[in-house]
Symmetry: C2
Subunit: 384 residues, 2 copies
């Protein structure tokens, strides 16, 4: 396998882009990304997107957004793995370059969510869960998350304050992120007093819906060194799945797919947890954030709440988690999220993360999951 | 890049499977495919599917169908490229094995269309076209095909009889195919007298909607030779795109993506058209069948109608096209179609195509497109 590196990064702020359609949202980001990479010839595109068919009645979007980004005839692949679509698209782009099939590829994630009203959005996002056994019977995804949160609180004597502390940390981080959707700081009182969505989950436990697009240019490491002084190598990839239906799991409070994918990525990267300087994890809800922290091995089982409450994931801690603000405050344009995470880590490793910069970050990790971790994508990136 | 071969093939008959859900439809096929390959350990799954979200309100189906096929924790990727999804999934599976990331992968295509009524199906399939510039304004995909057919008849003085001859040939072929949806023969009179759908397209110019699932097991050629006496190597792959919106094309009657993808595949395979013994092409409508024949170079521009009428694509001709009956009569479970095509060619090259067998077939080609060839996948397969 050829070594693969990121040589271009581009993002647009996550927000309601009323003035931009799906195609213009993506094209604007793609052009920024190409410019960042010095306008290389692109051989193929890999696009992560969850729900263009529901939000904009459009399929076949890899062809569409490639065309509108100026690549009229290149191979184009759309990958869908619910809110892990972005991470899955990176894996496909990585594999294509690693195999030698293509030299330079564009990996993008895009989601245009502002076309739907919020009740529709809940239904659309819930298609990530098992329709026949869960959603059809009235359990939306946020309901599943609420059950996991209640079980977590019961099992580990976790407190509402611990979840609220996670929220406060994410908003604190996002306040320095020009691409973030929710750039305001918040307080424990605000987080605890927010209106209920699916008890015990409140509005402040949920990542916001928003429009977003992010992209990367990948090429062989050999070529990358000629193009840029700051190539970021993808040194480890790992993907694993779990049952879609929660009732089929042996342990509801373990994100098994996250652990398995992490092991694979570390094995390929020849790293251990101690080598990782900065993390971007998948906190679609505060509970998925805590379970992700545990799945990655950043705390023991049931210990993530205390870790967060003690300031253990802050930007200047030993394990800086989500300096971008995470899904909670950077925003969660579902199918694009995995690409935002990798773009943010790449900027960290290039030392270009400005107010979000983690000092001396050399190796970073992204964790991007679908639903309640039915699929997990782990990528480990390194400054070369 | 490692050489890649098909070592297992499985299909289910295309029809209305009222008694099977999406997951059981796929699992049944996956188990047949695994058995055909001698039950190898599978490292990852790549699933082509166009519209599970519309037909069954389910996303994330790569995870779902992997789980229900007995692979609870493997990496799983769903690829969507409208009705080219199956061919795109094969390309992703091929690349993954070629790169060395995985040794053995399952590539599947599945579509469960019988849950929808036909007016819904028309809307769903039309999401393959440009929503903002075409579909929203009242042009469904079949309307776009009708405009191309009328233009083709005008431009090349093609006759209705030529299109009807294509239909008759496909039904003749499908009558020997145990997996075909429409296994009855038909006549020129029947084809010419069928009820109009979007003039000049009649019911007999359209591929039928149906439920279907097909799968392949891919592994390195080296390993394939140890597993089976009849490995089928994927010697060439090619993918290309065109504009999604028809008004952006310079020439409406040229499937440019098909030609470009074919050139790439021939280049990798070191083949020319003369080397190919059998073809499976994408005849979602009779007009897309004729334009595909021309895009592949099997006839000159505007000459496909005459070629077909003269019996030039029959099973015992120099260029046997769609011995399976093609999309027209084998059926077109949209996202699964590309995998059916490769499965059918693999059986041809193994000499196991029974009543459909093309004599001494050593090299075969599949052509799988989205909509009006906005994306094209070409695969060239060879008996080893």
């Amino acid at each position: 396998m050829r070594k693969v590196a990121i040589v271009g990064v581009g993002m647009i702020q996550v927000t309601d882009h009323w003035d931009k359609s799906l195609r213009t949202l993506f094209a604007e980001t793609a052009l920024k990304t190409l410019e960042d990479a010095g306008d290389p010839k692109v051989d193929a595109a890999f696009i992560g997107n969850m729900s263009a068919e529901e939000f904009t009645k459009q399929k076949n979007i890899a062809t569409l957004v490639s065309d509108f980004s100026g690549f009229r005839d290149i191979p184009a692949t759309r990958v869908e793995a619910a809110d892990a679509s972005g991470g899955s698209a990176i894996l496909e782009g990585f594999t294509a370059v690693a195999s030698g099939l293509y030299d330079t590829v564009l990996v993008g994630g895009v989601e245009k969510m502002s076309e739907a009203i919020s009740s529709e959005t809940t239904q659309i996002l819930s298609m990530a869960a098992d329709q026949e056994y869960e959603t059809f019977h009235g359990l939306p995804l946020v309901g599943a998350a609420a059950m996991l949160m209640r079980l977590y609180m019961h099992e580990f004597k976790a407190t509402r304050e611990q979840f609220a502390a996670f929220t406060v940390q994410m908003h604190e981080n996002a306040s320095s992120n020009p691409y973030a959707q929710l750039r305001f700081k918040t307080t424990l009182e605000n987080a605890l007093g927010a209106r209920p969505i699916a008890d015990p989950i409140t509005l402040m436990d949920c990542a916001p819906a928003g429009d977003g697009a992010a992209a990367l240019i990948l090429c062989s490491l050999e070529k990358a060194k000629k193009i840029t002084d700051t190539p970021v190598q993808i040194i480890g990839v790992g993907q694993a799945t779990d049952t879609l239906a929660l009732h089929d799991r042996e342990d509801l409070l373990t994100f098994g797919a996250v652990s398995k994918a992490t092991q694979k990525a570390h094995k390929m990267a020849k790293t251990t947890l101690e080598d990782i300087d900065v993390f971007e994890i998948h906190d679609s809800y505060t509970i998925t954030g805590l379970l992700s922290i545990e799945g990655l091995g950043l705390s023991e089982r049931g210990g993530a709440g205390m870790l967060v409450e003690d300031g253990g994931i802050a930007k200047d801690s030993q394990i800086p988690v989500n300096p971008s603000g995470g899904l909670k405050a950077r925003g969660h344009p579902v199918g694009a999220t995995g690409v935002y995470q990798a773009a943010e880590i790449a900027l960290q490793l290039r030392g270009e993360a400005d107010g979000m910069q983690v000092k001396d970050a050399e190796i970073g990790l992204t964790e991007n999951i679908s639903g309640m971790a039915s699929l997990a994508n782990i990528h480990i990136l390194k400054r070369v």
